[in-house]
């Protein structure tokens, strides 16, 4: 499946990528949410807060939406929504409790 173009002009910093571009199982730290306040508010209350670690857990069988592990729960977002959240790729430094069973101690 061809990946839809990411709205790069919204990308606030070159060090970040859109959450939708995060590879399977990869971690990132949320940098910013670039969307209307109402949606941003809801996502923040669900854990998508700047500074929060996020993992792309698995994709739906059809490739979209993707399930993300965030703040101890699992939330599925379509590519169009995840494309408006920007993350710094890489595992978080502080090492929060990873969401997958294999990794948890």
């Amino acid at each position: 499946m061809s990946k839809e173009a990411v709205i790069t002009e919204r990308n606030p910093s070159p060090a970040t990528i859109a959450l939708s571009e995060l590879a399977d199982q990869a971690w990132g730290v949320i940098a910013s949410l670039e969307m209307v306040a109402e949606v941003q508010n809801q996502l923040m209350h669900m854990g998508f807060m700047p500074g929060a670690p996020v993992q792309a857990l698995r994709r739906a069988p059809a490739g979209d939406p993707t399930v993300y592990a965030i703040d101890g729960s699992e939330v599925a977002l379509r590519r169009e929504t995840a494309g408006l959240i920007f993350v710094v790729p890489g595992a978080p430094k502080a090492g929060p409790a990873p969401a997958t069973g294999e990794r948890s101690a």
Binding site: N41, Q42, M49, A60, P61, D71, G72, V75, T100
Partner: protein, 648 residues
């Protein structure tokens, strides 16, 4: 159950008198208690447990948000009313739910008394995130009890929280409960009793420190600090959920299991529900006939049997299918699979402008639109839900089958096409199914690009962990849905059925000694209307008899077969050959095909309209739907008949 034998923190350990961050509450009689919490915190389960079966469902004025309220029978406080507020993440949101919550909490909602106490339910598994809602709630200054739900699951998975420390941080009592199992529920009556006692508040009550700005970032910082002070340890990930998702969301197995579930749902609503409906219908008809035979043969008997009993029957026959479908959906939803099914179906549903959660309702609509529309409640996004409600009646429901079967048997020769692979009759039937589906698809697209265009609200789907559904919760759900249908939709269906019956017997002529005499169908108001509309439906290839059939089938689609039987003087059950022959004699092929095309599109179903009225809380949408579908049906039938006239 005692507070102490559970090993959970308890209310009894702390003094709940100085509730409220301001410490300046007027103590007195409590009458109204509100229940609030973020979505998926188990609030409804607790509400059901506290109120028992006697719930009142109403709509807040001017909005589609439902108000569930009830006396707190479950804890022996019949004198208290509990109001279940919609699940919200925060109060400073522009959503309808949040505005309703704010208005009720501030006592500004017309018709709803100002609350005297608040029960704040939070999911103990995600305390840091859920605590964000505590900040705006505590700022209200009402006596508040914080209930950390699913505390048993949290403890089982190694999570911990010091409820006493948390209570000190929040300056309000905190209880660890399990709504599903009823653990520690007795902290609630204790809290309410304490809140009613005369105040012995100290002059300078300690004030809870709340974030200055009520925005997500500062609320989250505050909740992180509070959780830390309460030495909150987040429970480990649910191992079984991760294991199950590896299979149920697998690239290959996931869709396979999904398909099996879909076939299962279809089998239940269509294969089991339909015969049950029909069986119940037969029992009711027989019972009605037996009772009617005991009555003297006069107008009263006709009124009771044909006017009222038929209406009651029209309502009751839906019940088995509705209950079965809701049992199935209840199991799917409570177990957590419904969210996974929505995830799998989302890509497909998105291509027609809906979201994954619309899949199961639309599938059910192939059996009957009534339970399907009631099932759209699982779609949180209001616009997506409305779109699903508006397209569902296009799906080929079972009530269309009698007229389809009659016309196909009468007009379509029984021969094979495509090299004797498939029968022509089956082809036409399949074509009608496809036609309905295409109409639904086109309508969904149309809605998304016009009326419901603002539906840019994203599809955000939280995947809950898997759980065993409990009988308690399933039973309450079935009772709730069943009563809602009977009370709210049933009265409308009964009323319309009765009015149409009256129209089919008036004018009543009175002759001296034999008393009142009802009109025959052809001479009644409906019959005359059938004649009256003949010029309008003539281009469609319909005569006045079909016109009467169309008018009388506004009650329900299948009624047309019986009406045509009466008009052509043939019992459709015993003389179906006779009726077919009469129709062949009286209609052209074009008109006949136009008739089934008309039925594929038209909204000939009072029950559906009543349920749409109920679910959207306004007459606007059923009216729009009726006009749109009837208009579309007329145009499609016109085009069909004219094509046949000019081409064949």
């Amino acid at each position: 159950m005692s507070c102490h034998d559970t090993g959970l923190g308890s209310l009894a350990e702390l003094d709940p008198v100085d509730v409220g961050p301001t410490g300046q509450r007027v103590k007195g009689k409590i009458r109204t208690v509100v229940l609030i919490g973020p979505p998926n915190c188990g609030k409804s389960t607790l509400f059901n447990r506290l109120t028992g079966l006697r719930q009142k469902v109403a709509n807040y004025p001017g909005v589609t948000v439902e108000q569930h309220s009830g006396r707190m029978n479950g804890i022996g406080r019949r004198d208290l009313t509990l109001i279940d507020l919609p699940g919200v993440y925060s109060l400073n949101s522009t959503s309808e739910d949040a505005r309703v919550a704010v208005d009720v909490l501030h006592g500004r909602m017309p018709g709803t008394p100002a609350p005297d106490a608040v029960l704040l339910v939070l999911d103990a598994l995600h305390l840091q995130r859920q605590l964000m809602l505590a900040s705006p709630i505590l700022a209200l200054g009402l006596p508040t009890l914080v209930l950390l739900n699913m505390a048993d699951v949290m403890a089982a998975r190694g999570g911990k929280v010091d409820s006493l420390a948390l209570a000190q941080e929040l300056r309000c009592p905190v209880a660890l409960i399990s709504a599903a199992h009823g653990t520690n529920i007795d902290t609630i009556p204790a809290f309410l009793q304490r809140a009613e006692e005369p105040a012995v508040a100290p002059e300078h009550a300690p004030v809870v420190t709340l974030p200055v700005l009520q925005n997500p970032v500062s609320c989250r910082k505050w909740s992180a600090l509070v959780s830390e002070a309460a030495s909150y340890k987040q429970p480990s990930s649910p191992i079984w959920t991760i294991r199950l998702d590896k299979i149920l969301l697998h690239r290959v197995w996931g869709p396979l299991v999904f398909l099996m579930v879909v076939v299962g749902v279809f089998q239940v609503v269509f294969g089991i529900g339909q015969p049950l409906n029909d069986g119940l219908g037969e029992i009711l008809t027989t019972a009605g006939a037996h009772v009617a035979n005991l009555l003297p043969d006069n107008w009263l008997r006709l009124l009771l049997r044909d006017g009222l009993w038929n209406g009651v029957q029209a309502v009751l026959v839906f019940l088995p299918q509705i209950l079965l479908l809701f049992l199935f959906i209840g199991i799917l939803e409570d177990s957590g699979y419904l969210a996974r099914a929505a995830l799998i179906a989302d890509r497909l549903m998105r291509s027609i402008g809906l979201n994954g959660k619309a899949f199961i309702p639309l599938l059910s609509a192939y059996a009957c639109a009534v339970p399907a529309i009631m099932a759209t409640r699982t779609i949180e996004n209001r616009r997506d839900r409305l779109a699903t409600i508006l397209v569902a009646p296009f799906m080929t429901c079972s009530a269309r089958l009698p007229i389809y079967t009659l016309i196909i048997a009468a007009f379509i020769p029984n021969k094979n096409v495509i090299g004797s692979l498939i029968g022509l009759r089956a082809c036409v039937m399949l074509g009608l199914y496809v036609l309905g589906f295409l109409a639904a698809l086109g309508t969904a697209r149309l809605l998304k690009s016009s009326v419901l265009k603002a539906s840019s609200a994203p599809f955000i789907l939280e995947l809950p962990q898997y759980r065993w559904p409990t009988f308690h919760s399933l039973g309450l759900r079935l009772y709730d849905r069943g009563m809602l249908f009977l009370k709210k939709a049933g009265t409308i269906i009964l009323g319309v059925t009765f009015i149409l019956w009256v129209l089919s017997i008036v004018p009543i002529s009175f002759s001296g000694n034999t008393g009142a005499h009802f009109s025959d169908l052809a001479d009644s108001v409906i019959g005359r209307l059938g004649h009256f509309i003949e010029p309008i439906i003539h281009p469609l290839g319909f005569n006045w008899k079909i016109g009467i059939g169309l008018l009388s089938s506004i009650v329900a689609r299948e009624v047309i077969v019986g009406t045509l039987g009466t008009l052509y003087g043939a019992d459709p059950l015993t003389h179906s050959e006779g009726l077919q022959a009469a129709l062949r004699h009286d209609m052209t092929l074009g008109g006949a095909i136009a008739l089934v095309v008309f039925f594929a599109f038209a909204m000939q179903c009072t029950s559906t309209l009543a349920v749409v009225r109920r679910e959207t809380n306004s007459w606007k949408w059923p009216l729009v739907q009726f006009c749109y579908m009837s208009g579309l049906a007329y145009l499609a039938a016109l085009v069909t008949n004219q094509l046949f006239l000019h081409i064949f």
